[in-house]
Amino acid sequence: MIKAKDLTYEYIRVMETDHGTKEEKVSALKQVNMEIEQGDFIAVLGHNGSGKSTFAKQINALLQPTGGTLWVKDMDTKNDALVWDIRQTAGMVFQNPDNQLVATVVEEDIAFGPENMGVEPKEIRRRVDEALATVRMEEYATHTPSKLSGGQKQRIAIAGVLAMKPDCIVLDEPTAMLDPVGRREVMETIERLNKEEGITMILITHYMDEAVRADKVFVIDDGDLVMQGTPREIFSQVEELKKYGLDVPQVTEVAYLLRKEGIDLPADILTIEEMVGAVCQLKSTI
């Protein structure tokens, strides 16, 4: 589905100093190699400025690699002729729900993508209705986006991408600006689309409890892909994660601290249920 070979992205940052401006070369991505299969649910972790957003924009061909190659469904993102096909294959949802909705009516906004692609009016109507149903927002079809909650706006943004019939959706911190209710709505939608529609999900996030729900986790630090594996493999390495400025889910942290105190708990506890199970087992052995 998505394959990166020595993917590199460098840009020139102009800094203002006391003695005029200074140019500095920044490597946002350094020779990243990775592969994502169709239907995967991937979480990408990394602290601010680690290059994870740059990585997201590469998949959508909003940015093109300065070195190496990135293939989206065998399409090279450096090939300008394929840009629209790539963007249609890999849709993108951004962080700020307000700054990605274009129209004043919900259904018009969802129609925006297919309209740009030149889809037939009847087919657009069908796709819009279908996408609204998928994100469970049918009753808001004729509402204005500015009156909706953050979570609802984000679901509309997802529906807007769905109407383009993508194989893959890249979500760049879609829950960062939402309240807990909105976060839950969006996460449920993402998981459901992955399980039921088989759409590859690439979720860039800060929240460890969201990353836990993915099939696979990538950790990016300073432009390097430093860790990859299942959430269980990744989060059991508490010390290494801390080295990259990342936290682990709260229960995992508790388990880690308890282990350090000599209490025999498994290192890969990710959820509260697992923690309860492990503690109960421990209690019965004493």
Partner: protein
């Protein structure tokens, strides 16, 4: 309090006027405005006003809403009236005091200009009251399309209008937030003279502009991510279609224009009607 401002004054109702194609409404309104300047007899204005009354009645929009549009330009109307009243030269002096004189011609001119302005505002707000902003922009885009050949960016203008409409509530919210944040830090927007008040707006405008530019950049990226590349090969979900009622409205407008022009020509011969 800033949220109370309503932009795009659409009044939702089920009426034949609401159902008309936006393009027809725009063209009809334009022709109606032209007709206001063709008419120059009292008889003509009576007819135009009566017709406008019939259309307002058919639109099911309360007259109150129509007049609301007048409130904001009352100063302009009064100013026009006063200027015309005193500045028009004529033979029949009605009243005179020092350098001020009122002539019969001036009085008629003032009344005529006021009636014209009122009819113009009421007529055009009837269009915006019965047409959703999105239909309006679609209509404008369609009507400007022939001008694309001479370089008028029709699609871009319509897209800009849509985006502006979409972001007005967002930016109003933001202004409210910034004002509260500045007030919490002791900013004072209500006291002082004009210049001080204007100066106190700077701490609101600067952050608002910065954020608007940031939003614009993010929106541009989001639009590109959704394959936006101008109106090349772009289709629309809702295709505008002329129906029977739209053709009927067009024919009625044509008849109306003929009557108005006829009246004007007739008035040329029958000068007593003024």
């Amino acid at each position: 309090m800033i949220r109370d401002i309503t932009i795009g004054q659409y009044y939702p109702a089920e009426s034949p006027i609401h159902r008309l194609d936006a393009r027809v409404k725009i063209v009809v309104t334009f022709l109606y405005i032209v007709s206001l300047f063709i008419v120059n007899t009292i008889m003509g204005y009576v007819i135009v006003t009566a017709l406008l009354g019939v259309v307002i009645h058919a639109s099911k929009v309360p007259v109150k809403f129509m007049l609301r549009g007048l409130k904001s330009i009352i100063i302009i109307i009064l100013f026009t009236a006063v200027i015309n009243l005193f500045m028009t030269r004529g033979d029949h002096i009605l009243w005179s005091w020092k350098f001020l004189t009122i002539t019969t011609e001036g009085l008629y001119m003032a009344i005529k200009m006021c009636v014209r302005l009122v009819l113009l505002i009421v007529g055009s707000s009837l269009m915006t009251l019965t047409t959703t902003p999105i239909q309006l922009t679609d209509g404008i885009e369609y009507l400007l399309r022939p001008l694309k050949k001479i370089g008028v960016p029709a699609h871009e203008i319509a897209m800009m209008m849509t985006i502006a409409l979409r972001f007005i509530p967002t930016l109003l919210d933001e202004t409210d937030k910034i004002m509260k944040a500045q007030q919490a830090r002791g900013a004072d927007f209500d006291t002082g003279n004009m210049i001080q008040k204007a100066k106190s707006l700077i701490p609101i405008l600067v952050p608002l502009f910065i954020s608007a530019f940031r939003r614009a950049e993010e929106l541009a990226m989001a639009m590109e991510a959704r394959c936006y590349h101008g109106d090349e090969n772009r289709t629309r979900m809702n295709v505008m279609r002329m129906r029977g009622r739209d053709y009927r409205a067009a024919v009625m407008t044509a008849v109306y224009l003929c009557v108005v022009v006829g009246l004007r020509i007739a008035a040329g011969h029958l000068t007593f009607m003024i």
